[in-house]
């Protein structure tokens, strides 16, 4: 076998499980990943290269196995794996197999991922922010967020985060400082007292989200192309000592270069202002002041709202991002260059900390009301938990209905006719001006023309 472990070799876990090596999934920087057969079906084993199999790494794996993260978006280490025939102390860890329908970001950049669209990409971004929120909420830092660790399913936006073998409490030293392009400036500069923390993870997360949506690094513009010798000093300058955001409103020195970096120029143009503002915060003031970096909750809530504001151009049918909420700035379709007509919206209103808060869902053919719209807090957005399905009127353009996808009736008020009626499960409420739907628990939806 062209690797460390031959086919048929048997590895074990501390619990006595026997793992038979079948073949390799691939090799990488830290080790090789093998497919192994077990009593419970196929699993994957990451087997460390000899130089990486340190006592410190082994202790980290044992810690991670003992303190699992209860979030299915992480391919978490399930057990330490050792080789009974090996006396040199080599080891690895057991994890689930990544399904074949999950792709990595380089494949997205190469346009090799079929079926991905704006909506699914937004769910990927939301899931990514939410998954790291779950990790950080436990006081753990990931330490090496980069595009090699994130995998996504283009069919539904589900994600898997791999290589979780350094995600221990942020006060522990794992020796991992991250990947240069994703490292916070203070880590790149090796500032005194700088070390990988949740705050440095937030910088890497912002870079990852920018790359996911813009397909480009946020600091790699003209300054990168001017570098003749791309060595350590150049990388330190680009990401550490003189980082400048491509679209920094106060510093145009590192703008993307037309003709050579056109993708990011085009993607930034169609990015909704609410996201542009967050990226600008993350890569201007957030570069110098870690406490000003954009939190995972802000990313999550913003992506959730952006998802509800994706609309199709009435002229050419292409999807466009518009700003969430009422009266967004006008948007020109990226494809046909005509003004995108805004469809009506459903304004969801609910109680939150003794006040009423609202959010909007633009009424399009694919729009739905989900369970997370009705709840104050959710640990995980689940786009399979549908409360109501928007249906376009079969003949009257611009008119919509909302089908009750729950098991309980809704109460619907019509201010125009001053009528009150129930919409049973499976039935549809016709959405008109003045309509108010009660979902229960104080959550209401109002139909708005703009």
């Amino acid at each position: 076998m062209n690797g460390q472990l031959p086919k048929g070799h048997v590895l074990t876990t501390p619990g006595g499980a026997k793992l038979r090596v079948e073949d390799t999934f691939g090799s990488g920087a830290q080790g090789e990943v093998y497919r192994v057969s077990t009593d419970r079906g196929d699993r994957a084993v990451k087997w460390y290269h000899a130089n990486m199999a340190t006592p410190g790494q082994r202790e980290i794996i044992e810690t991670l196995v003992g303190r699992r993260l209860n979030d299915t978006r992480f391919l978490w280490p399930q057990a330490l794996v050792t080789d009974p025939a090996d006396r040199a102390g080599a080891f690895g860890y057991l994890m689930a197999v990544r399904p074949r329908d999950f792709h990595d970001l380089p494949a997205l950049f190469r346009r090799e991922v079929k079926g991905i669209n704006s909506r699914k990409l937004t769910i990927v971004a939301l899931n990514t922010a939410e998954a790291f929120l779950a990790l950080h909420a436990q006081g753990r830092a990931y330490r090496d967020i980069n595009y090699g660790n994130l995998f996504f399913n283009p069919a539904n936006g589900d994600i898997l985060i791999c290589d979780n073998d350094n995600a221990v409490e942020e006060n522990k030293d794992t020796g991992i400082w991250g990947t240069s392009e994703f490292m916070a400036p203070e880590l790149m500069r090796q500032d005194p007292n700088a070390r990988p923390t949740v705050q440095t993870d937030l910088h890497a997360l912002a870079v990852l989200l920018f790359m996911l949506l813009m397909n480009h690094h946020p600091l790699a513009g003209k300054a990168e192309l001017d570098i003749r010798c791309f060595d350590d000093a150049a990388m330190k300058r680009l990401y550490g000592t003189k980082p400048v955001f491509l679209f920094d409103p106060g510093d145009a020195s590192n703008r993307p270069v037309p003709g050579e970096q056109d993708t990011v120029i085009a993607n930034w143009r169609v990015c909704p202002p609410v996201l542009r503002n967050l990226f600008t915060q993350a890569f201007t003031i957030g570069l110098a002041r870690p406490e000003q970096r954009v939190r995972e909750t802000v990313w999550r809530d913003t992506f959730s709202q952006v998802y509800d504001s994706i609309v199709e151009c009435g002229h050419c049918g292409r999807t466009n991002y518009i700003d969430p909420g009422a009266n967004p700035p006008p948007v020109t379709c990226w494809k046909c260059n005509r003004t995108v007509d805004l469809p009506p919206r459903l304004e969801i209103v609910r109680d939150e900390r003794l006040r009423r808060v609202s959010r909007s869902i633009r009424l399009t053919q694919d729009a739905k009301v989900y369970e997370h719209h009705l709840r104050r807090t959710v640990s995980q957005h689940d786009y399979s938990r549908v409360v109501g399905e928007v249906e376009a009127h079969p003949t009257e353009k611009g008119r919509f209905g909302l089908r009750n996808a729950t098991s309980k009736p809704w109460r619907v008020h019509n201010e125009a006719t001053r009528s009150l009626q129930d919409v049973p499960p499976g039935k549809r409420a016709n959405l008109r001006p003045g309509l108010l739907i009660e979902f229960g628990d104080g959550v209401e939806a109002l139909y708005r023309e703009k």
Partner: protein
């Protein structure tokens, strides 16, 4: 090279014009860096069709710009390879080189295009940032090999293959799930080609003490019926190196490539490095 790894490195290189081709549009480059502590190898396949009528230039610039770009990096690797805690950073740096490699090729092509526009445009009519580089289209495959570490970069078709020993199946670490077919290939002449650049990094240790590493243009792999045939070729070369030695294989290589070029009809180029006695 010194240390606990292979005792000597032997470079293989050969390039043969395809059957019925007017001239060879492939290029290759090999060089030792840091007094032989690192090797830089690359091949490039100029697309060669009517639309790519300057692709022999494109492929030549590709291998040279690749070498110029990765040589400082190779020196850094030599300096740091004995400390495994630096490896992850080196792997990240290798991935980050995709942009600069492509940018250097583009600059080189733009420089030539400015003086010799492929479409014959007069000086006042040229737009240097929107220049059409399709005539220069080429693939690029490159390696940096040191005693401890291996780095591979690839845009477009062709193969980078590692063989740990002649008895084990070789691997193509940058093979894609869906292989490119026909004459369609990713190219340095496309917009933002670095997004198409695949990068692979790994320690040398899993490849054993006498590995063979090969980079070749697709003229070679297309001469076989399927991937198995190509991988058997790699195994056979490795066996021949172990049984007959490097000098004999160097003599035989041109004949093998000529036979391949005859079957595929395409220019066929190979660079390789073998760790032997």
């Amino acid at each position: 090279m010194t240390g606990s790894g292979p005792t000597a490195w032997h470079v293989l290189r050969g390039s043969v014009r395809g059957l019925n081709k007017k001239f060879n549009q492939d290029s290759l480059y090999t060089a030792s860096v840091a007094d032989g502590a690192a090797l830089v190898l690359s091949v490039a396949d100029g697309h060669g069709s009517a639309a790519h009528f300057r692709s022999n230039m494109g492929s030549r610039w590709a291998v040279r710009e690749f070498a110029d770009c990765v040589t400082p990096f190779a020196r850094t690797v030599v300096d740091r390879q004995e400390d495994p805690t630096t490896w992850l950073a080196l792997f990240a740096a290798a991935r980050a080189l995709a942009g600069p490699i492509c940018h250097r090729w583009r600059e080189r092509a733009l420089l030539y295009e400015a003086g010799h526009p492929a479409n014959g445009a007069a000086a006042g009519e040229r737009n240097p940032t929107r220049a059409d580089l399709i005539p220069y289209g080429t693939t690029l495959l490159g390696l940096v090999v040191t005693q401890q570490l291996l780095f591979c970069w690839q845009v477009g078709d062709g193969d980078i293959t590692t063989s740990a020993d002649a008895g084990a199946p070789p691997r193509r670490p940058l093979a894609t799930a869906e292989e490119e077919y026909g004459d369609d290939t990713d190219s340095l002449c496309e917009p933002e080609p670095w997004v198409k650049m695949r990068v692979h990094c790994q320690p040398m240790a899993p490849l054993g003490p006498r590995p063979l590493l090969i980079a070749n243009t697709d003229g070679l792999s297309k001469s076989f019926e399927d991937e198995r045939g190509y991988l058997k070729f790699a195994t056979d070369v490795h066996s021949a190196l172990e049984r007959q030695g490097i000098d004999k294989v160097r003599l035989l290589l041109e004949g093998w490539l000529t036979r391949a070029a005859g079957k595929s009809g395409d220019d066929t180029t190979l660079v390789g490095v073998y760790a032997g006695e």
